[in-house]
Amino acid sequence: MLQLVLFNLTNGLIVGTFYVLMALGLSLIINLSNVVNFAHGNFLAIGGYMAFVLTPYIGFWGALLVSPFLTAILGFIIEKVLIRHVYTRNHIYSLLLTFGLGFILQDVCRYIWGPSPLPLNIPESMSAAVTPDLFFITWYRVFMVVVVIVAVAGLFALLRYTRVGMRIRAGTLDLETVSALGVNVPALRSLNFAVGSFLAGLAGVLAAGQLGLNPNMGDDLIMPSFIAIIVGGVGSLTGTLLGGLLIGVAAALTTVFYPSASEAVIYVIMALVLLIRPRGLLGEEGMLS
């Protein structure tokens, strides 16, 4: 039993890192623009499908590099054309807009690539297990964790050490003052949305290599991202990191003892956090505070 628990603990951390990647992009957009992007999961799917299209020409590695950038460009354009118009309106507008956008993107995927699942081929060597004892850790899963660590480190470095990052952090706290100081807020928001979309695209390629593609893949993966943000605390990227890992581990450990509840447990954690500490685990003193 102990071995089973330890195996699942490790497995939960691996799955959790993936939730972190998805949730960070979403969190970034919420923090600066105050827009809850319901279409974030669909950006993830678009990233995966772009990799599917590119892989025959530039291989998996090339697609892994290019697809997130293409998703970021798409995000940048959509922010410019659609999202920016609702920043000054009641929140319900942005909710409805991104909710509808999600359906449109999903139907676009269904129209172009069909409703059936599609495989994204990864290099054969990546499918093998690292060792026979740790059979559930394939090289691809190791690679995913490394990519997520690099991406998260890169994001935190961007926010902490670059001028743009500092502006994003400042804008998260007080957008009016940042604007009064001469920062081009619309450009900052567009860039920020593009970075969030980049992370969604990267998560999409990684997910597609592991799970394959289908038009609904974003829907299946988006809820854990929302919950990671709530549990970790809205406004805190470090909290999102912690929230993602926590729900990944909780879901995996629940599978050992009561598998039917492996999905429900993350909602239970969210409910408990909201009851006991409504601002989330690190909602007040996160990195952006």
Partner: protein, 417 residues
């Protein structure tokens, strides 16, 4: 300032999260037909959601069948209008759409749903409204078992039939110690119960996990399965979940240690399985390659151009049989009245060009379940028949042999006065 901003964001975010459930209440897709009083058929399926690939095949099959039907005079000399609604894989939405089709669109009959839980819920609506209803592809047993209704017929198999058909083959070939991975909803629960019943009869033992229907990562449960050291891993998941489970099973090297099998496989899913993961023993409820049944070849050749030159799947067949059976019932009853149609279809043997099966097939009077043939076999690498030649039929089990007597299903049909 900061705390106020954070509070606003948190409230916005929580409101947004609470609002994530959405329903689509758009107008139905309609195939327009000539004639002033067309026969209206409501077709409800989860065109969006995790079962959409199966639903789209059913809808394709239904559209093609209605088009062919209309070329040959429709039903009772009237053209047929197909009203397709998306249940979005959500029970509430499915029920809402059933009410809409019956009360607003005044359909003459209802077909649906792929999702067992939705089919079961819609059944309550059609029974209350006394509307003729065929379930083309929702498998949970109570639909034609303990909760059967006089107005409801089912084309796809029960889970009991699928489980009975494949259990003996798996026990005989691999052994009696099994591990189940099963979706935690109506279909999965009844399927596993039936497998367990048959396995216990054979003296077998088991363990297993019930997982959420849209589960994507199976590593946690596969760790448990490997520790149990079963002879067979039963993958009862559906759609992309079934595919992911199969892929991870192979990636984790478990194919070398145990056999993989399950009740139902669908060609829609099989097409997406990477070559290295094409393995296992399964049931197909209909298969396009039946060299000894001439009507099958005619059907395949006719429908293929309308569905992107692919081979038709069991889902195309389910829609076809359901609609053709409704036509036969109406014409035998000379009426579209639900009671008369239901009486007409009970125990009616379907002609070969409708059943598209090697043995005699009928909707059994005792429970309104179609007694169709069940194809048991092994998933293979693509064969000489093309990219869809992915299954080798080992045996064809007669529906009545797998289903057992109607009395044992718990169905007692109560007809209206």
């Amino acid at each position: 300032m900061t705390s106020k901003l954070t509070l606003t964001k948190r409230r916005t975010f929580l409101t947004a999260t609470a609002a994530i459930a959405g329903a689509q209440f758009t107008g139905p897709f309609i195939i327009k037909a000539r004639g002033e009083t067309p026969v209206k058929i409501g077709f409800i399926d989860p065109i969006t959601g995790s079962l959409s690939a199966l639903a789209v095949s059913e809808v394709e099959g239904a559209k093609w069948t209605v088009a062919e039907m209309n070329k040959k005079g429709g039903i009772l000399g009237r053209q047929v209008e197909l009203l397709v609604e998306d249940s979005a894989n959500d029970t509430g939405t499915g029920v809402q759409k059933a009410h809409k089709l019956i009360e607003r669109d005044k359909v003459d009959m209802i077909m649906g749903d792929v999702n067992s839980g939705i089919a079961y819920a819609i059944m309550g609506v059609t029974a209350e409204k006394k509307v003729f209803h065929i379930v083309p592809g929702g498998h949970t047993d109570p639909i034609t078992g303990k909760d059967c209704k006089w107005n409801v017929f089912r084309t796809c198999n029960t889970t009991a039939m699928d489980a009975a058909a494949v259990t003996n083959e798996l026990v005989k070939k691999f052994g009696k110690k099994w591990f189940f991975i099963t979706p935690d909803y109506a279909y999965g629960k009844t399927l596993q119960e039936n497998f367990v019943k048959n396995l216990k009869k054979a003296g077998g033992t088991f363990e297993g996990d019930m997982l959420p229907i849209s589960n994507a990562d199976f590593s946690a449960t596969l760790i448990k399965a490997k520790a149990y050291k079963p002879n067979v891993l039963l993958n009862n998941m559906g759609g992309s979940a079934q595919l992911n489970c199969m892929k991870q099973f192979v990636q984790f090297g478990m194919a070398k240690e145990m056999a993989l099998g399950g009740a139902l496989y669908e060609l829609e899913t099989l097409r997406s399985v990477p070559k290295e993961a094409l393995t296992g023993w399964w049931v197909f409820e209909w298969w396009w390659n039946q060299p000894n049944v001439p009507a099958v070849k005619t059907f395949v050749d006719s429908i293929s151009p309308a569905i992107g030159n692919k081979k038709p799947t069991a889902r195309h067949w389910m829609a076809y049989v359901s609609l053709m059976a409704a036509k036969l019932a109406a014409e035998k009853a000379k009426s579209l009245e639900a009671v008369k149609m239901a009486h007409a279809l009970s125990d009616m043997e379907l002609p070969p060009e409708v059943s598209l099966s090697p043995n005699k097939v009928k909707y059994r009077g005792g429970d309104h379940q179609l007694m169709s043939d069940i194809f048991v076999g092994e998933v293979t690498q693509p064969g000489p028949g093309g990219p869809d030649d992915l299954f080798k039929v080992e045996s064809v089990v007669k529906g009545e042999d797998a289903a057992g007597p109607a009395e044992e299903t718990g169905c007692k049909i109560s007809w209206p006065a």
